[in-house]
Symmetry: C2
Subunit: 200 residues, 2 copies
């Protein structure tokens, strides 16, 4: 037997299917993303998909894990610039990500909050990764520029700022983006030093 | 037949059972609050409870509705005082409520986020009632005192401040109340004008 078609290794094939799942998730909730839908779109059998992913839940977790990695990647702050400029750039990438992937992202936030432990863990890790940037990527010098010293109260308020940002951006999209995007970004960026400079 | 025992009307009896459900919910999640548990604690039959509440879901909704009303009631701002003082008083009542009812409150937030439509509606109504106070109870004069003019952007950020407050207080309790309560209250109170005065 010989074939001129490119044969992908199982790992690569799995990666490709995950990318397809991610694409389907951008305009669908997690509940709407079924093995059947993926099989149909990919043009392969359900049996083969179960071979790659084990179960629907494992498939969902793999897609969500990839979505989280993708969000962390696209929102990575640029290496240079003043702390607030870098934050503003990262925030704009986050808003664009939510705009482009609203259905899937909103369903991840819901799924995590519902108490599904595996989803919850991915969500918490992602939020921690995004929030910790405030302390790590910009570094202690960045915090000093904001007039802030790291403390448990500052960590708590940074987590609060993340929750505020998530809620404001989701609500902004739900409401049809009435406030201009530049204004939204300016408000959320300005809120961080305002909120973090409270602790004394 | 005669009896010296006080006979309660069905409505009053139902109210009493709801109060008992609310009490049980303070140290339990909604998932842990079963008809069986209520029947055992109240010393009446499961059949009678189904007579009063129809189904477990109806019972849960009635208890959650009562919990929401209770939270709105205990956090009502005092009628007098400067806007920020009234807000601080209301916020302290909210923190005390979450401290006293952590399990049930956290499970309501989770349940609402999970997409259960009836829970979601109660949760949204409650959050709206609490957030609208910023605009109604303190009134336009109160907003002016904070240097704020009502606008879609201000409404969006007020909603964000509510989400921040919920997250910060839940995380504060989860983490063992490391930051002193007075400091927590001061930070959240100061954050409101800081966040709302952004829009221009």
């Amino acid at each position: 037997m010989s074939s001129t078609r490119t044969r992908l290794s199982p790992d690569l094939r799995r990666e490709q299917l995950l990318d397809l799942g991610l694409q389907l998730l951008s305009t669908r909730s997690l509940e709407e993303l079924s093995i059947d839908l993926l099989a149909e779109t990919a043009g392969i059998s359900r049996g083969l998909l179960y071979h790659y992913f084990g179960s629907k839940q494992d498939f969902h977790l793999a897609v969500v894990r990839r979505a989280a990695d993708e969000m962390i990647r696209v929102t990575a702050p640029r290496p240079e610039g003043a702390p607030l400029e870098r934050l503003a750039g990262s925030l704009e990438a986050y808003v664009d990500y939510v705009l482009a992937n609203y259905e899937g992202y909103a369903s991840l936030v819901r799924g995590a909050a519902s108490g599904n432990p595996a989803l919850r863990q991915i969500y918490e890790e992602t939020r921690t990764a995004l929030t910790d940037r405030i302390f790590e990527a910009s570094g202690a010098a960045g915090l000093r520029d904001l007039g802030v010293t790291d403390s448990p109260a500052v960590r708590l308020m940074a987590r609060g700022w993340s929750a505020m940002t998530e809620e404001v951006v989701l609500e902004w999209v739900r409401g049809g983006c009435e406030v201009p995007k530049t204004e939204l970004l300016r408000l959320l960026t300005a809120a961080l030093p305002a909120v973090l400079s409270g602790p004394r």
